[in-house]
Amino acid sequence: MSDQGLATYLNESMLPYPFCPGCGHGPILDQLNKALVELQLDPRKMVIVTDIGCCGLSDRFFNTNAFHGLHGRSVTYASGIKLANPDMKPIVLIGDGGCGIGGHHLINAARRNIGVTVLVFNNLNYGMTGGEHSVTTPMGGVTSTTRQGNLERPLDIASTVALNGASFVARTTSFDKQLSDLIVRAIRNEGFSLIDIWELCTSYYVPFNRFSRKSLETTMTELNLASGVLKDETRPEYSRTLQERAKERSGEPAMPPVPLEPSFSHALPRRMSFVFAGAAGTRVGTAASAFCRAAVLSGLWASMRQDYPVTVKKGHSVAVVILSTEEIFFTGIEAPDVVVILSPEGLKKAQTRLPSLGSEAVVYTHATLAPIEVPGRKMELDFSQAGKHAMRKEFWPIMAVGEVLRDLGILELDALCEALKMQPAYAEANLAAVEAGRGAARPG
C-alpha cells in the first residue's frame, strides 16, 4: 500500500473478465472496485463472498480475501465471518438465482441487521446453466423453462429485505454511473445492506425476450418498483450487539464441575432398578435426578433414562433409574425392582412392565389409582395429609422419592436433602415437600 493508498483492488493479471459481451457483471465489478478504492478498506479485513452462477466467478478478480461457497449460501458464510470477527467487512456478490435458493438467509440476515453488504447481480434468469427462469423473472418472461412465458410473480428482493429489517437498501441497474456511490454507502453502513442491481443477460434473457436496457426500466415501472435508495436508517448491528451481550457474562465460570463427593452411607443390597411413572410436567425427572444424585453422594453409581412425549407437559413422564455399587454399562432394564406409579398416564406406561415383576419387587401406587395386581409387595401413597402439598401434583414425585427412601432404607434421607440443596432455587420448596410427604406410604 503506497502513501496514496491502493489505486485498484483488481488483480490485473486475471483480467479480462470472462463474461459474455454486453453482460452487466463486468461493469458492476468495475464500480465495486471504484467504491473499494474510495473506501480504502484493508483487503485483509474484508472478504468477497460469492456462490454459484456467473457472478460467482468474480472473487478471483480482486486482491482481497475471498470465500467461494455453495449455491445461495453466501450470506450464511458472510454472517459466520462477521459473527466470529465483527471487525470484518464481508461483501456478498450473489445472483438472482442465489437469492431464490437462499432467500431464507437473506431475510434472516436482514432481520438481524448483521453487518453484511449484499450486491445482487439480478439479470432475471439463470445465465450459467442455460437461461432458466429465476425468482425475479418478470411475468410473461420467456426462459428455457418458461417457453410460453413465466406464470410466477417476480420476487421483489429489495422490498423484502427492506420490510424485514435491512438498514440500507437500494435498487438500480448496472448502467447506473453512480453505482459506486451507492456501493460506498452500502459498505459504510454498519448493518445489513443490499443493492438490487438489475442487468442484462445477453446470452439468454435478452434474445429470448427482445429485452434491452430500456426494458429494465419499463419492467421496473410496470411492477411499480422505485429505484435509488429505498431505505437508509441506523439500527444496532447484530454481531457487535451479540459481542456486547457476551461481555456481560464474560468471566463467569462456564459449566463448572458439580462434584458429588461420597459423604453418606448406603444399604443397597445389590444392583437395583427403579421406574418412576407419572404425568408430564409434574417434575418426575427432577425428582428422579435428585434421587440419583443422592445415590452418587452415597458412593453409588447411578444412571437415569427418561421417556416423555414431545409435547412435554401433556401425557406421561417416566424415569428409569439404576443404582449400583459398580459402574453401570447397560442402562436398560428387564424387570424393575421398584415401580412408583403416580398418575393414570404413568400407570398406562408402566403397566407393560408389571407382569415381568419378580416376587421381591415393590410397587408404590398413588391412592387415587385403581387397585392393581402385582406379584410382590404393594404400597399405597396417600398425600392427602400433606397439607398444602396434597393437591400440588408437581410435588408428588419428590414426596414419593422421600417415602421410597424411608420405606426401603437404601439411602439416607439426608443424602436426598443434600442433593436437593444443590439446586438452591427450588431447595426450600422441595425440602418442605419431602417433609410434608412423611408417612404417606402405607401397605396397599
Binding site: 485483509r44 479485513k45 472478504v47 463472498v49 472473487d59 478471483r60 482481497t64 480475501n65 475471498a66 470465500f67 467461494h68 461457497g69 455453495l70 449460501r73 450464511t76 458464510y77 458472510a78 459466520g80 465471518i81 459473527l83 466470529a84 470477527n85 471487525d87 470484518m88 431464507h104 438467509h105 431475510i107 434472516n108 451479540l242 459481542q243 457476551a246 456481560e248 457474562r249 464474560s250 463467569e252 462456564a254 459449566m255 464441575p257 458439580v258 462434584p259 463427593e261 461420597p262 435426578s289 440419583c292 444424585r293 452418587v296 453409588l300 453409581w301 447411578a302 444412571s303 437415569m304 433414562r305 427418561q306 421417556d307 414431545v310 453401570i328 454399562f329 447397560f330 436398560g332 428387564e334
Partner: protein, 373 residues
C-alpha cells in the same frame, strides 16, 4: 471426582475444554440440549453461540467462523445431518476444522424424534458427494461424550477436516455418573500457522498427506477459500494435474494417518473363538453380555469400535484373527457389519444382531444370539 450429568452436558463441557468458541445450531430433538448449553455457556468464555434460521445456515456460520480462526461446533440429528450434507462436502474441500455432533434418532426422515438408533453410520461416511474421507467417532457413554468431544476438536484442528461425533438420543439425554477426575484433558491444539512474511498459499502442501498452513480471515495474509477444485492459491482450477493432486491429497491426509486416528478398544480373552463387535450405546450392552458370557464359563472377546471412520482395519483384523464367529450388534439392520464382512475370511461366520424398534439391544439379546442364554 464423581459427577452426575447428561451426555449433552458432557459434550458441551468437552467442547469448552477443547477451546470451542463458536457454536451454531438449529433446534431438533434430541440435539437441542447441546444448543441450549452452548448458548448459555459460550459467552462466558468469550465465544459466540447462535441459533441459525435453519441447519444449512447453522453449519454455514460454523464453516466460515472456523476459517476466521474460531474453534467451531454444531449439533443436530437425522433430518438436520441430511441438510448438512452439502456443506460437509464444502468443509472437506475447503479443509475446514469443524466438529459436528449427530445425535442419532430413528429414521428414515422424521422417523422417531424421541427414539434412539444407530442408523446414520454409513450416511455419515458417504453422505456427501465425491466420497472423500472424514473422521467419525462414536462415544459409548457419557464419559466418552466428554473425552471424545475433546478428541474430535484435536483431530479436526490437526487434520483440517470435519470430525463427526456419532452419538444417539439415549447417550445424549440420559444421565450417568461420570468420574471426571479420570478424564484425560487433551491440550488445545493450534493449527499450523503460515509464516508471516510469506506469499501465502492457503492450499499449498509439501506432500500429498501433509496439512496446509493456516492464516485466518482478518489475519496477516490474504486468504482465498473455495468449495471448487482449486490450485494452491485457492483459485478455481480445471488443470488435470492440479485437480488430481488436490483430490488425492484430500484422501491421503486421512488415509496416510489412519494409525494415528483409528481406535478400537479390545477386551480379549485367551482361547476365545467368538468376538463381539459393537460401537456407541450398543457397546454397553455388549460389555454386560461379555461379563455374563464369561461368568457362565464361555470364552469370548469383544471389540468396541471408537473410530467408525476411518475403520480401524489393522486392529480389527488382529482381533478377528483367531475367531470362528463374529457377532456384530447395532441399532440398524447391519450397516457396520458390511465393514466387518469385507474384512472377514471366508471361513469366519459374521452374524448381525439388530434392533430397529426404538429400544436398546439388551445383553440378553446378544447372549441368546451367541447361544449363551
Amino acid at each position: 471426582m464423581r459427577e452426575f450429568m447428561t451426555g449433552a452436558e458432557a459434550i458441551a463441557r468437552g467442547a469448552i475444554h477443547a477451546g470451542c468458541d463458536f457454536f451454531a445450531g438449529y433446534p431438533i430433538t434430541p440435539a437441542t440440549p447441546i444448543l441450549l448449553h452452548m448458548v448459555r455457556e459460550l459467552p462466558k468464555v468469550g465465544g459466540v453461540a447462535i441459533q441459525g434460521e435453519d441447519e444449512i445456515a447453522s453449519i454455514g456460520f460454523c464453516i466460515s467462523a472456523a476459517m476466521t480462526g474460531a474453534r467451531a461446533m454444531t449439533a443436530t440429528s437425522g433430518p438436520g445431518i441430511s441438510l448438512y450434507s452439502e456443506n460437509i462436502g464444502l468443509a472437506i474441500m475447503g479443509e475446514v476444522p469443524l466438529v459436528i455432533v449427530d445425535c442419532q434418532r430413528m429414521g428414515p426422515a422424521t422417523g422417531g424424534a424421541t427414539t434412539t438408533a444407530q442408523g446414520d453410520i454409513q450416511f455419515l461416511r458417504w453422505g456427501t458427494s465425491g466420497g472423500y474421507p472424514l473422521i467419525v467417532l462414536a462415544p459409548t457413554c457419557v464419559q466418552d461424550c466428554y473425552s471424545l468431544t475433546m478428541q474430535a476438536f484435536d483431530l479436526a484442528e490437526r487434520f483440517r477436516v470435519p470430525v463427526l461425533l456419532a452419538t444417539d438420543k439415549e447417550t445424549v439425554l440420559a444421565s450417568a455418573t461420570v468420574d471426571t477426575a479420570s478424564l484425560k484433558k487433551v491440550p488445545v491444539r493450534e493449527r499450523k500457522p503460515a509464516p508471516e512474511d510469506w506469499d501465502f498459499m492457503p492450499y499449498r502442501v509439501e506432500a500429498l498427506e501433509a496439512i496446509p498452513t493456516f492464516s485466518p480471515f482478518g489475519g496477516k495474509h490474504i486468504l482465498r477459500f473455495t468449495t471448487s477444485s482449486h490450485d494452491e492459491y485457492g483459485y478455481l482450477s480445471k488443470d488435470p494435474i492440479t485437480v488430481d493432486r488436490l483430490n488425492r491429497h484430500l484422501a491421503a491426509k486421512i488415509d496416510s494417518h489412519v494409525d494415528e486416528i483409528a481406535r478400537l478398544d479390545l477386551d480379549a480373552q485367551e482361547g476365545a473363538d467368538t468376538l463381539l463387535i459393537s460401537y456407541g450405546i450398543t457397546a454397553r450392552a455388549t460389555k454386560e453380555a461379555l461379563l455374563a458370557w464369561r461368568e457362565r464359563g464361555g470364552k469370548v472377546s469383544s471389540a468396541t469400535v471408537i473410530s467408525l471412520w476411518p475403520v480401524p482395519e489393522k486392529a480389527l483384523l488382529e482381533a478377528m484373527a483367531g475367531m470362528k464367529r463374529i457377532l456384530v450388534a447395532e441399532l440398524n439392520l447391519g450397516q457396520y457389519r458390511r465393514e466387518i464382512e469385507r474384512l472377514a475370511r471366508d471361513d469366519q461366520e459374521v452374524v448381525g444382531i439388530h434392533r430397529v424398534d426404538g429400544d436398546l439391544i439388551a445383553p440378553a439379546q446378544i447372549l441368546e444370539r451367541g447361544g449363551m442364554r
